[in-house]
């Protein structure tokens, strides 16, 4: 039961984007469509899951003073793996996410979980935490991407269901800020109701 909590807290209660306000750059930068949001979210989930596992395994070997640089190297290695894999197998998505793939390194969610959670907990708990937080992040990005895609181009996951162009603003940068602002309001309301 407790392990389930470690996994599920990342979705609503401690959602990285809506509650902790971490990892906002990719959240705003890549979510012009739901597919991009999902791709970015899953890439981040992989890095977060793997880095939480590795950090949890080597936590007793790292001297305290160099722990942050060590975490960064671990994270950067997994980001490089994602970068090369995506370039090879999903070139279109890689092109669209562009700069934000290498920037997963500086996503504060990942370093934050390594420092605040994986360095203090055992393997299973850290892995579940990484997976839960990552999927919560992916959920937030997909949701924001879906909202922007529906309003901005009248389609969802590339399937067009409204004729015409939609509200162009939501595809453009200002729409990202405004849509996220209102989504946070809605998520706050949901959180209030459930607790």
């Amino acid at each position: 039961m407790n392990q389930w909590k470690n996994f599920s807290k990342g979705f609503i209660k401690e959602n990285a984007v809506f509650v902790l306000f971490l990892g906002l750059c990719p959240t705003l930068g890549v979510t012009s469509t739901a597919i991009n949001g999902l791709g970015m979210g899953l890439a981040t989930t992989f890095v977060l899951f793997m880095s939480n596992i590795v950090v949890s395994l080597i936590k007793s070997l790292i001297p305290d003073k160099v722990r942050i640089p060590t975490y960064i190297v671990v994270i950067a290695s997994f980001v490089t793996i994602v970068e090369l894999t995506m370039q090879a197998y999903l070139p279109t998505l890689f092109e669209q996410l562009g700069l934000f793939i290498p920037l997963i390194v500086v996503n504060c969610v990942i370093l934050g979980r390594a420092e605040a959670f994986a360095s203090k907990n055992n393997l299973l708990t850290s892995a579940l935490d990484g997976l839960g937080m990552g999927l919560g992040f992916a959920f937030a990005l997909t949701l924001l991407g879906a909202v922007r895609e529906i309003l901005g181009s009248g389609s969802l996951f590339g399937l067009k269901f409204i004729a015409g162009d939609g509200i162009l603003l939501f595809i453009l940068p200002p729409g990202a800020f405004i849509a996220l602002g209102y989504l946070i309001v809605i998520m706050n309301k949901i959180k209030e109701k459930t607790t």
Binding site: I72, V106, F177, Y182
Partner: protein
């Protein structure tokens, strides 16, 4: 002329915060007051300029000749992290007043994706040494401009009656959206 175009494009047209979405964390986090925004912008300008210069040299003289360009992400982030530390130590010795002013903001900069982002963008745009440095400075100015404008608005915002549900971060995002919309007016001038 080239340099003027780089500067105008980085500061206004492709503003790093409002158009490229880099450095959002400090943009939302330390924009509560104009004075802290000024300090943060100063620290970012300092580190961004040096980081762009150093990563350029690293890419051209080490990563490219040895054919290990795929190590870019790891090397750049490590260099930036150590650079921030180095700048902190040097500033402490050389210029205590400047260290006092920027001090608390420096450690935060390592996780500011604007720094790494600008270093990588300078490589992707295939700038030469001088262009890279100009690009770094221009983006630092763009970051400062957005941050200071936004903190000015937020200072006033704290005095008005915001609906309860929107208080705090949500209204900040909506204001940022309006600011981004204003910056869209610059689109197409270069």
């Amino acid at each position: 002329m080239e340099y003027v175009i780089i500067i105008i494009s980085a500061v206004f047209v492709n503003n790093i915060v409002l158009t490229r979405f880099l450095g959002i964390c400090p943009f939302i986090g330390v924009s509560g007051r104009v004075s802290t925004a000024l300090g943060m912008s100063g620290a970012v300008a300092f580190v961004m300029t040096i980081a762009t210069l150093v990563t350029y040299l690293l890419q051209v003289y080490i990563l490219n000749p040895f054919g290990i360009a795929f190590m870019q992400t790891i090397t750049f982030i490590l260099v930036i992290a150590s650079l921030v530390q180095l700048v902190e130590i040097i500033l402490k010795k050389v210029s205590p007043p400047l260290y006092q002013a920027l001090g608390i903001f420096l450690p935060l900069i390592t996780t500011n994706c604007a720094i790494l982002g600008v270093a990588i963008l300078a490589q992707q745009n295939e700038y030469n040494l001088l262009e890279s440095v100009v690009f770094g400075i221009a983006n630092a100015i763009g970051f400062g401009l957005a941050l200071i404008l936004f903190s000015g608005i937020r200072e006033h915002l704290s005095m008005v009656n915001v609906p309860k549900a929107l208080q705090g971060v949500p209204i900040a995002f909506i204001v940022a959206g309006l600011l981004a919309m204003a910056f869209m007016g610059f689109a197409g001038i270069v």
